[in-house]
């Protein structure tokens, strides 16, 4: 079973995010790291690949500046290889353009199973994996909280408003996983060393047969008009509990006529 995991490389979450003044897009000029949300997908892929003999895991990512540090993290966890699409023409791509690029890159890996996160930390549009599925002509099961497979079909527990559904789906298919589904492993020292020599295929837009003017900011069909400060919510009274904290809350609730 060939498994592909989408891994987004995002600005370090420890740094405060900022928007670029001219384009109102997120500043991605600093070092990028593997999106924490995708560590669950990588772990899930490694576990499922372990369940089906002769499987391997390929990482696919689109990122600026030939960024590979997040990919090395995924390779150190145990993925076999990575495909990176990096091209100046892609700056300012909307999610659909990103989906087209990723779908083209994923198609090269001829996957049986594609795994992505439900939503990314920095973009959180949450539509990209389904767009990819439609472009690849595959079924998709989003919001998976438990996944198992025999290499031919998938059994998924999918979150719902009320609880969860059991969903069956033939492969090839796209699955999105939520945080907490599995416990991502920490790369071992051996894994980190091995990752250094694992292959990363770096592709440009032209390698994928995609017209560069149809993607990136030139191809974008949505635009940010402006960014304004929201009405600030005034912080209220903050008191240190001296044994009277509960009484303060009771008085507050009484005043609101909640009790």
């Amino acid at each position: 079973m060939r498994v592909v995991v989408c891994v987004k490389q995002v600005p370090d979450p420890a740094m405060p995010p900022s928007l670029l003044a001219e384009t109102h897009t997120l500043d991605r000029s600093g070092k990028l790291v593997m999106d924490d949300s995708d560590s669950y997908g990588v772990e899930m892929a490694l576990q499922l690949a372990g369940d089906v003999e002769g499987s391997d895991v390929t990482i696919v990512s689109m990122a600026p500046g030939g960024e590979t540090s997040g990919l090395r993290t995924a390779l150190a966890m145990g993925a076999a290889r990575a495909i990176l699409v990096s091209d100046e023409a892609l700056a300012g791509s909307d999610a659909l353009s990103t989906a087209k690029v990723l779908a083209a890159a994923i198609r090269r890996a001829e996957p049986d199973l594609v795994i992505a996160a439900t939503e990314s930390t920095d973009g959180y549009t949450g539509t990209l994996p389904v767009q990819v599925a439609e472009l690849l002509g595959m079924p998709s099961v989003t919001f998976a909280k438990r996944v198992s497979t025999d290499g031919t079909t998938l059994q998924v527990e999918r979150q719902t408003e009320a609880g969860y559904d059991d969903v069956n789906c033939p492969l090839p298919a796209v699955v999105t996983v939520t945080a907490g589904v599995v416990e991502p492993r920490y790369p071992s020292f051996k894994g980190i060393m091995a990752a250094k020599s694992k292959p990363i295929d770096v592709l440009a837009v032209s390698d994928l047969g995609i017209d560069a003017s149809a993607v990136g900011s030139r191809g974008a069909r949505e635009e940010i008009v402006d960014v304004t400060d929201a009405e600030a919510r005034e912080g209220g009274e903050v008191v240190v509990d001296e044994g009277d904290g509960a009484a303060r809350v009771v008085a507050f609730l009484e005043q609101l006529k909640v009790i």
Partner: protein, 315 residues
């Protein structure tokens, strides 16, 4: 706009979408699926939809692919909507993604407001935990696809007559429709629903252990409210996902929100900042939750919550 139903009829978010659609467009048409779409035609009309396209029963298929195909077919056959509005629900997002790829139009997600400006429909999106608002719009030919978050609009009936029912079958969607629901599990909850309760008491990692969540549940019960959670403790497996408040969980707008041992990360704030009153209990004076709290108690949840429960019980 995409109309979703539950056992209780149209979902609250569907009613909100209908109301929003009416304020920005003269004609609103709905699209729904399920075994008995005729039963919701009255409610759809009451909230302003003139017509409901009926995709029919999906025989267990996940809705994303067939429902998107049905909308794309209507557009292919000459319908020219300016906007397609979808609820930010599990199935709504699936339909949006599939429709986007089919129509070759991008999607604007996390929409919390819609305004007409100089003949263009502008969207509002909260960023950085709602500290700033981004306004965006579509450019180029074709309909805009919008995914709207819950509680962004207040549902109000318009008093129209029942929507006209028109069949809109999906046709064959090939392998994309192959995912099938084979079983359903409902996680029973007692008391009011999280996204409808007037009081919500939520717990976070500061509770220290799964057992301590009982304090949150007990306080919620005493206040006739619902118990919520931060993602940290959902991920840790202390409580089911259906309790999660925030960007990837539920949006709540209660009269009072009590945050217990929750730091107030931006992704949590977007789900509860709309509460009328916020009480926060956290032992760290610097926790961001205090910047939105009307009453902040700097203290230990293991002291404040038992005392609070005791005080309410003895009333």
């Amino acid at each position: 706009m995409l109309a979703e139903t539950s056992e209780q009829g149209l979902t609250p978010l569907t009613l909100e979408l209908l109301t929003a659609a009416r304020t920005v467009a003269p004609t609103v048409e709905a699209l729904a699926w399920g075994p008995d779409t005729a039963s919701i035609a009255g409610a759809l009309g009451e909230y302003g939809a003139s017509r409901v396209y009926d995709v029919g029963d999906l025989a267990g298929a996940l809705p994303g692919a067939p429902v998107a195909a049905a909308i794309a077919a209507l557009i292919g056959n000459g319908e020219r909507p300016d906007a397609v509005l979808l609820p930010a629900s599990y199935d709504g997002r699936d339909v949006a993604g599939r429709l986007s790829a089919r129509l070759d139009r991008p999607v604007l997600t996390n929409v919390t407001g819609l305004v007409q400006h100089d003949g263009a429909l502008l969207t509002e999106h909260p960023v950085f935990g709602g500290a700033q608002i981004v306004h965006a719009r579509f450019t180029g030919e074709g309909p805009g696809i919008y995914v709207v978050r819950a509680k962004s609009f207040t549902a109000e009936p318009a008093g129209g007559s029942a929507a006209e029912l028109v069949a809109a079958p999906a046709g064959d969607v090939g392998p994309t429709g192959a995912a099938k629901i084979v079983g359903r599990h409902v996680e029973e909850a007692t008391g009011p629903k999280l996204d409808e309760a007037a009081v919500v008491v939520s717990g976070g990692r500061g509770l220290g252990s799964a057992e301590s969540y009982a304090l949150v549940e007990e306080l919620a019960r005493l206040l006739h409210g619902a118990a919520g959670a931060s993602r940290a403790i959902v991920d840790a497996g202390w409580v089911p996902y259906s309790h999660q408040v925030g960007q990837t969980g539920k949006t709540v707008k209660p009269t009072v929100y009590v945050a217990c041992g929750i730091s107030g990360a931006t992704q949590h704030l977007v789900g509860m900042k709309g509460a009328k009153n916020i009480v926060a209990i956290n032992k760290d004076r610097e926790a961001p939750i205090f910047s939105v709290a009307d009453l902040g108690i700097v203290g230990d949840v293991h002291k404040v919550l038992p005392a609070l429960i005791e005080a309410l019980r003895s009333r």
